[in-house]
Amino acid sequence: MLKNMIQTSRLKSPWIIHFDCGSCNGCDIEVLACLTPLYDVERFGVVNVGNPKHADVLLVTGTVNHRNKHVLKNIYDQMPNPKLVIAIGACGLSGGVFREAPNVVGGVDKVIPVDVYVPGCPAKPEAIIDAVVAGLGKLAELQKQAAI
């Protein structure tokens, strides 16, 4: 029964962690804007946490560079399974305008597997909320697989 409860609450109230990987802040403040009164995702049970070990969903914004890719990998590894990764913004997808800059590796998917991609420069709060909702479908699937 406890297992059932965890499985339901994980989908009904996903906890997110946000990591800025080298974005220009545009996407970061849009992620934060999701939590504030106008969009207020907390009313859907989405909580922003600071500790990767508490989180179900990892939101990554910005390009990966040679220094922060270790940090990103570390945070991803610390998160418990099943977990979901959402890459936000043009930079997180492919490197965006910084693609050719000297210290840029590229998109987030060069380092960790990504489940949902959110385009936009910067991505709008509506799009980010939509992405989390779309990702929950995948989280449910992952959960089912893990249960078997």
Binding site: H66, R67, P102, N103
Partner: protein
Amino acid sequence: MKTLDTITVTPETVVGEVAKLVTSGWRMITMSCVDLSPEQFEVLYHFDKELAETHLRLTFPKGMAIPSVTPTLFMAVLVENEIKDHFGVCFDGLPLDFDGKLYLEEEVKATPFCKYSTGTKQ
């Protein structure tokens, strides 16, 4: 064509000139490094005093270490480390030296901002 009014300094006189400006109340804004040619770098020191600007220009051959102004002016510490990261310019007597690793990890090509050739990194 716009040009910048600058005071030309040499590696021997730069620390003295900076100290002179600081004692007469000028505030350092930053330094800029430019890759002039395959042989030469140029470092500009930008100063400000009540909205007026003055600039020192230091041109020196690549591979040469120039004296650090950080002991005179602590705010230059990050700027000099940044130039060392980007261009591989060596600063003599730089306290708190990140040794070219302020921004960059080992796997990045050394001195990514150099246009013409790679400066020597000691």
